[in-house]
Symmetry: C2
Subunit: 254 residues, 2 copies
């Protein structure tokens, strides 16, 4: 299916962030909407390849730059998780109101910090499809602190080694409420997100309608080699194909 | 791939139980070995269809009757989990010693009580592939009591509604040690195994190399309708195909 792209601006708290719709050239109405959320230090461009693959399946994908990145990188040291969450909400709402999108079939694809934000979105908006790659985990405390400062916590790395339950962390608590279809992808040699953090997400997703967990052997956190990026795109496309096919009659799950 | 069958007897504690090898007609050596363990009240025949589908993928499958079933049904009221576990061990060892089986790539496919026993096998034998359908859960206590008596416990149904951690139950503890590839399949309308019991297994399998959890909508515990049985066989075959393909160089995980 051939795809086309359309760049947009989204206004959040008086700031403009850039986004790109990627959609089938001859899109029908009632297409699934899939929001792509990049990680900390990333940008929407990193997700264009994924968005094109998603659009080729008949979905409308939206990638966007979180505040503090790309055009608004001047905000990098001051943006908080609250700011990022509002960015995700604004992008979700823009996607859900797209005339070709079936707002009862919404998905989110996120990596690292973007996956963490995606998990939190479960509390706030209906989501049927959730794909978390190398999902980051942060303490609930200091929500309003600049995101960059969270890494200064001397306990930061140790926290990600803990076995945590849904009630111990709000992102895990959100996952425990998730009733849609979930994909979790881990990098086999992730230097940022250790396995216990990913295992916490897997365990928390035990109430999902389905759960698919896969590891990309040898891959680093950022999938810096093309073969790892390809392996991820293949996993995502295969999963999405199965999940869209399995939903002849779609009911919102939340 | 065409398959053939070979009936065998396995001696355990002086009793004979019946089994059936199902294998490709022109089997090569180093085939994966897959043990099929039926549920309480079932028999090996229920697994012949699954075993044929598994063998058609190039595996050597073994189905067998647990003591207390089929030819040894006179023992139905007296067999304990200890007896059943010894049956599973004997069948596993018979399969692992089959000349065409690569004993470094062993799998177990179990349903209900058979899935519970399969989880416990993780403690005792190397397993790389584990497929649990509607896995049952029992209290650790009274291991040596007749299996049938466990259902008399007034707390029996309530126990399966609990959220349990790996350290709360030995079958879940085994799953937490599992480093191979896991499939968990739930029946959407299971009248025997409620969702919390399945969710406990999913959460406990968070350290698996991969995890695939799927639900068969509307299905009952025993997959009494052909379409549900077909859906399960399709899930199992697709999963096994992916897992065998993904293992070009096999290393035992335990």
């Amino acid at each position: 299916m051939r795809v086309r792209e359309e760049t947009i601006s989204i206004t959040v708290d008086g700031e403009r962030i850039e986004g790109t719709f990627v959609l089938p050239r001859d899109v029908e109405s009632d297409a699934p909407g899939v929001l792509c959320v990049h990680g900390w230090g990333g940008c929407q461009e990193q997700y264009l390849g994924v968005a094109r693959a998603i659009a080729a399946l008949g979905c409308v994908a939206l990638t966007f730059d979180l505040r503090g990145h790309a055009e608004t990188s001047r905000l990098h040291d001051t943006v908080t998780r609250e700011h990022s969450m509002r960015d995700v909400l604004a992008a979700y709402d823009r996607l859900a109101s797209h005339p070709q999108v079936d707002k009862s079939l919404m998905g989110l694809v996120g990596a690292s910090y973007g996956a963490y934000l995606g998990a939190l979105l479960i509390y706030m908006r209906p989501l049927q499809l959730l794909a978390l790659r190398a999902p980051a985990l942060y303490k609930d405390d200091n929500w309003g602190e600049p995101k960059r400062k969270l890494h200064v916590d001397p306990d930061f790395a140790a926290y990600r080694q803990l076995t945590l339950r849904a009630e111990d962390n709000r992102a895990l608590g959100a996952c425990a409420q998730f009733l849609g279809d979930a994909l979790v992808v881990e990098s086999g040699r992730d230097e940022i997100i250790p396995h216990p953090a990913v295992a916490n997400y897997i365990a928390a997703l035990a109430n999902a309608h389905s759960l698919t967990y896969r590891m990309i052997e040898d891959a680093d956190h950022g999938l810096s080699e093309t073969r790892w990026e390809t392996a991820y795109n293949d996993l995502l496309v295969n999963w999405l194909t199965e999940m869209i096919k399995e939903r002849p009659c779609v009911e919102p799950s939340s």
